[in-house]
Symmetry: C2
Subunit: 431 residues, 2 copies
Amino acid sequence: MRMVDLIEKKRDGHELSNDEIAYIIENYVNKSIPDYQMSSLLMAIYFQGMNHQESAALTNAMLNSGDVIDLSVVKGIKVDKHSTGGVGDKTTLVLGPLVASCGAKVAKLSGRGLGHTGGTLDKLESIEGLSINLSIEDFINQVNDIGIAVAGQTANLTPADKLLYALRDVTATVPSIPLIASSIMSKKLASGSDVIVLDVKIGDGAFMKTIEDARELSKIMVQIGSSFDKKVVAFITDMSSPLGFAVGNKLEVLEAINTLQGKGPADLTELCVEIGSYMVYSGGIATTLEKAKELVLEKLHSGEALAKLYDFIKHQGGILGDLSQFIDVKEIIEVKAESSGYVEHINALAIGVAAMKLGAGRETKEDVIDPNVGIVLEKKIGDQVKSGEVLAVVYNNKQNIKEILSEVQEAFTISKEHVAKQSIIFEIITE
Amino acid sequence: MRMVDLIEKKRDGHELSNDEIAYIIENYVNKSIPDYQMSSLLMAIYFQGMNHQESAALTNAMLNSGDVIDLSVVKGIKVDKHSTGGVGDKTTLVLGPLVASCGAKVAKLSGRGLGHTGGTLDKLESIEGLSINLSIEDFINQVNDIGIAVAGQTANLTPADKLLYALRDVTATVPSIPLIASSIMSKKLASGSDVIVLDVKIGDGAFMKTIEDARELSKIMVQIGSSFDKKVVAFITDMSSPLGFAVGNKLEVLEAINTLQGKGPADLTELCVEIGSYMVYSGGIATTLEKAKELVLEKLHSGEALAKLYDFIKHQGGILGDLSQFIDVKEIIEVKAESSGYVEHINALAIGVAAMKLGAGRETKEDVIDPNVGIVLEKKIGDQVKSGEVLAVVYNNKQNIKEILSEVQEAFTISKEHVAKQSIIFEIITE
């Protein structure tokens, strides 16, 4: 087999066999195939695509390029969730404790944020003392003990995916649906859970811009899961506006706590309850989706889910302390409306970028995050607003942020017409 | 400017500006842009193409990446010819002396063969003592003295093209028409001639397989030439069958001599006379194409063109000696027809590959050529053939070539129906 022939085959629109895909990944990881051939193949895949068979073969090859976590020693059905990333997405902080309190086992490996999107690890690490560096043994023990653990990747999971992703990032080959699908699914499958719920976000603040792309990505991922005998469900959800009110690490931790106290934003609560119900139902804890939802709501309202969050934070060494002292910033600035009407749109990308500029996110991988800063929306889509009313509050530690404040204000579109609120969930893709 | 943004721009079908293309080539040559980004861009160009403006900008950037030969000290109009390569293509050996004998100045830099196609330098070097390593000074002096010199590239011409071609070769991005056009034109323009005649071959044995592709390539090259104020003409010619009878280095030198003696194959003679007439006319030596053709035929039949070939060989140190002893092989094997009829097709690729396997060509750049071996066709398309008659003669120095002999035989398609001979020239593309 010669790589140049395989590039040509894909370039000309032919299907690569399982063996050919395995050969490519194996030899790319062992450096027999150079980056320049791989990037040429990736661009050919960008244009010619890959069918479900090829996507599953690529997922399998990447999965087998490194360690696979064996969760068989964890009793019960292991459930996992993956979000394609967005602005203000603190879902894991709410959903993890919520479904764990229902009896599902959550053994979750998370990532860090880059650019305008946040990462669960950064949010967790904003809590004093909390460590996400668990050994595999401690990780599994904690899941067995309290039903939930969230950690960074210490094991050598899917090294092929890491190499490929780094190459795609600098060769304009990131936005290829089969490549995205294989990347996500190889990581999720390597993490060892039985049930995987995918939160595929669309809109300004997401990687997928259209419902068609999100649907295609979802279908491929569900099919890949099925070829590995895993139960995979994909939610296509709205990321045209930020999720919830808070954007910024500690601010989002507080919002997660509020949500588990039943006082959270409607969109975040809806998303967590709906996805949580699917996880609980797919995890075999409830016999119907309706019963699963009843259980989820019960745990949310009884405070058991909140207790699970506190338990989880404590187990990983975190100390929340006095929550009124949790956020430590130099100044809190109000951004006010300049006209009256209804909030028609809040540009998630603009809010995400503004929060990043405040220091809540990373422009490059080397940047250090300020956990205290961020933006809290006071108005959401459909809300009525009067000129001079507060649209958002900015938590700041930097000098001269006039430009950032303008960007936050300009992220809001105010309409004279009444704007209807809509559900955050567009579609649910199952097998 | 960031390379990843330029890759994305081309990937999405947008036009790259002159400055962007100059930036890419400059930074690729100085190694600021890595191979893996360039190969990804090349694949994007394969799919999205480049318009005439972009092709001219790429040609210009590659041209300026190295030395440009200044032929201004050569008196008269300098004419050059480039063939896209084929099997049995000894045109330069005939055409160079032919047009030089008419008074045109031929300062030609040639290449070596690879795969099933031969190279002029290999053919010349099959002549004892002949050197193609001329200094620029000797090269120019020889053109001034006798009107013709053929050399390998000693100057650092178009280093960007060399780097790019090597990368394209291993990343399945060779067959992109704008990339081929820019590669050819940058080399031709760097060689400094005023008039460039392109022989764009189509068919089994050529890189271009269809008349449409050849036409597109020709048009781009003629337009690039025009944007550099050069007179460029493209001939689209047949390479479905080998050109002439002989395939193999010394065998082709002999055929060139025969052709300049007026005893050459009809197709090769036609091609050289027609292209030669355009070169003589475009070079301003004759006022009309008809008068140019009269002059070319006169020089061919008077023996002056042959004398020019001998003079040229002598000037570059070559000694032909007794031509009856020129070919030195262990055995000469006849390949015979197994049925009667008319020759419908002679697969140029198959003949080229068979000759390469005999040692007349290189499978890899490191292979050493045997100048004596090769194949001489005894029958051409349209010829009547009887079962048992000789189709081709194989000049061999190897052991056990049974398989090669079969390949030569199978390259011939014999039809029961009468097959018409056709002109070797399909189209002529001018400005």
